[in-house]
Amino acid sequence: MYEILNKEVLAQGTVVLNEISAPRIAGKAKPGQFVILKANETGERVPLTMADSDPKRGTITIIYQVVGKSTHMFADMPVGASYQDVIGPLGKATHLEKVGRVACVGGGTGVAVLHPITRGMKEAGNEVIAIIGARNKDLLILEDKMRAASHVLKVCTDDGSYGHHGFVTDVLKGYLTGPEKVDLVVGIGPVPMMKFLTKLTKEYGVKTMVSLNPIMVDGTGMCGCCRVTVGGKTQFACVDGPEFDGHTVDFDELTQRLAAYREDEAKSWARYKEECACRTR
């Protein structure tokens, strides 16, 4: 059993942080890697990136957006409760090396995934420009941590309620040419954002890494559920990724595959809401 030692509710309850006891995983986790969690006997296997890990405490931290049945169920678990299963670390670690100037661009909950990578990029000796965005000020997460992990932090909101009014890509543009041009972009966020961002950086010829989040089952390369097309070839995101060269990713296919179970997910979520209502009544 994997106990929740710490829990924080962020972004007005739409995002939750859990620090979980998992000593074996904590000792091995590297930036960019993920775990798979299963809450209970009937639960599904949910992949989430490790936002942090602490080998001394024997813990890992996950930060997730509350979207459907499984993440709601996770969010309903109090400190002291346990996940039945946590598997990891899975996926390839981010390749952290000194390349010069790096832009780390994050949208929404993607910022949680981006944070350890940003920190790692800085530790590797890069000059790190962090650009993070959210729909509005209340939904922005990890601003302070991102500031500490980078040299320069730029914040954007879609509605202009905080920082730059507009998208992260607007701000990124300033770093794709001219004296402040970056050597590498790391972009993590919702699929439409990554698609748009890579289109832009491709125009400027700046290498861009993205982290993909296809639906997964085992996370060890045995089912092929997570297949994505990269550079015209099928890759398994759980073992070949989750990070890939963004300029060669087929984002349209990823978008379609992410919608594979929409109806079932809605059914599951409705059922859960009903069950919760019964319990509180």
Partner: protein
């Protein structure tokens, strides 16, 4: 009439006792086990058919040489405890093997009675004895040797690993099994469906090992959570690797990534391990197909097709590029699938998938094949008939054309030698790999094979590991 020679009066022959089964129309819609098991009376009758051959060919046909006539003799006398003890000497998973072994190609295929009549139903008797013991016939645990102080790590928890764990714990070693999934059992749990092998049976076998003292650590992906080298650092004296052949093969044809096109591994894992057939009680969903195509001709294809029926398909086609005779599936599975209404398209190969604007598969284009000249193996090779393309409508397609070695463990284990296909090179007599202190067996050495061969490899490796621990490499 009267001048015809009179027939010698024949001894009343006992016919092969039929296994009662759920009716095809009923079972095709539920996940309960298909064969219902012999009654005690028919088991005794069936056992009485055995001739107790002096040189029993059935034993030679069995990959682990179960002492078949001896066990059947006990059964014929109604001594079921004696029977199961005889089996246990060579086979630690009889409830599993009685259900999934290809007996027609092994013990029963070699039985002398089979030359003129039906062979003794060895598999059904084995199943009966094991079920009898599990259902309370005996709770006895085999005797354990005194502790040796040696520690063995077993990687994977499929049949090869279960065998090694059972053998070595009885010899007094400490055994810890590391499994990547959240449940032990390997293919027995994630691949073979409930209606063919109830999971309760597998878990009871694992529970038996745990009662003997085997430690089980699930959720541990060796190669990621911990490496083979780190297992040695943790104090293990020997390591047995049996991670199976879990890498799904795809066809490499256009449209393979459309929604509704699955590898058999994914389809069966969702349904069996994650219990998607009980959605929404269980959270994992699976695409429910009405018109289903399954590609391949082995057990995996049969299991996928029969699962699709049970999940509510109107029509299921198995599409296979060779002819019926070349299908590698167990005869019983093909028979069961046909009874349940699965249709076969032989000498047919897929060329591409077609989808709607949401990327959901709607059809598969195929080509007809004919058997050409024999190839190197002597099998006539299927060749494409030009211009024979046709369309099969489908909203679910399951690709069951084989599996390969998963490189997760091997690529993180420097020094372990692999063959050209990526399987681990291991001595067929001992299971020794190129790395000192590391053994391997089962599908990760042989490629996809059978439960009993994996167990046989486990048995050999256990013997070799024991020798190593007690006497040195």
């Amino acid at each position: 009439m009267s001048d015809k020679p009179v027939d010698k009066p024949k001894k009343d022959k006992v016919p092969r006792q039929a296994m009662p089964e759920q009716e095809p129309q009923v079972r095709a819609r539920n996940f309960e086990e298909v064969p219902l098991g012999l009654s005690a009376e028919s088991a005794v009758l069936e056992a009485s058919r055995c001739l107790q051959c002096k040189k029993p060919s059935c034993v030679e046909g069995c990959p682990v040489n179960v002492q078949i006539p001896e066990f059947i003799k006990c059964m014929a006398e109604g001594d079921f405890l004696g029977g199961i003890r005889q089996i246990w000497q060579r086979n630690s998973l009889p409830a599993v093997c009685g259900r999934v072994c290809p007996q027609e190609a092994q013990c029963e295929g070699s039985c002398v009675l089979g030359k003129k009549d039906a062979p003794v139903a060895i598999g059904n008797l084995e199943r009966f004895a094991a079920d009898w013991a599990r259902k309370g016939g005996t709770a006895e645990l085999p005797p354990k040797a005194p502790p040796t102080g040696k520690k063995v790590a077993v990687v994977g928890a499929g049949p090869a690993s279960l065998t090694v764990a059972g053998d070595l714990i009885l010899r007094g070693h400490e055994v810890t099994m590391f499994e990547a999934f959240h449940r032990p059992g390997g293919v027995l749990v994630y691949g073979i469906p409930e209606f063919r092998l109830p999971k309760e049976i597998v878990f009871s076998e694992v529970n038996f090992l745990e009662r003997l003292g085997v430690k089980l650590e699930c959720n541990t992906v060796v190669g990621r959570s911990i490496t083979v080298d780190e297992l040695f650092e943790e104090g293990f004296d020997a390591i047995f690797v049996a991670v199976g052949a879990g890498l799904p093969k795809f066809l490499g044809i256009p449209g393979e990534n459309y929604i509704g096109v699955y590898s058999a591994n994914e389809y069966l894992t969702r349904s069996n391990l994650m219990k998607a057939y009980l959605f929404p009680k269980y959270d994992t969903p699976v695409v429910i197909g009405k018109q289903v195509v399954v590609l391949g001709g082995g057990n995996v294809a049969m299991d996928s097709a029969r699962t699709a029926l049970r999940l509510g398909a109107d029509q299921v086609h198995i599409v296979y590029r060779r002819s019926r005779d070349e299908m590698p599936a167990r005869a019983a599975e093909v028979h069961h699938a046909e009874e349940e209404g699965v249709k076969f398209q032989f000498l047919t190969a897929p060329t591409k998938f077609i989808a709607d604007d949401k990327g959901r598969v709607t059809a598969m284009e195929c080509q007809r094949m004919e058997l050409g000249e024999p190839d190197a193996s002597g099998r006539r090779r299927p060749v494409i008939i030009k211009g024979s393309e046709f369309i099969l409508d489908c909203d679910l397609a399951v690709i069951a054309v084989g599996a390969g070695p998963n490189p997760l463990l091997t690529s993180s284990t420097p020094g372990i030698a692999l063959n050209k296909w990526g399987y681990i090179d291991a001595d067929p007599k001992t299971g020794k790999t190129a790395l000192k202190g590391v053994w391997a067996g089962g599908d990760i050495v042989t490629g996809s094979a059978t439960v009993i061969l994996a167990m046989g490899a486990g048995r050999l490796a256990a013997n070799s590991i024991h020798d190593y621990l007690m006497r040195g490499w």
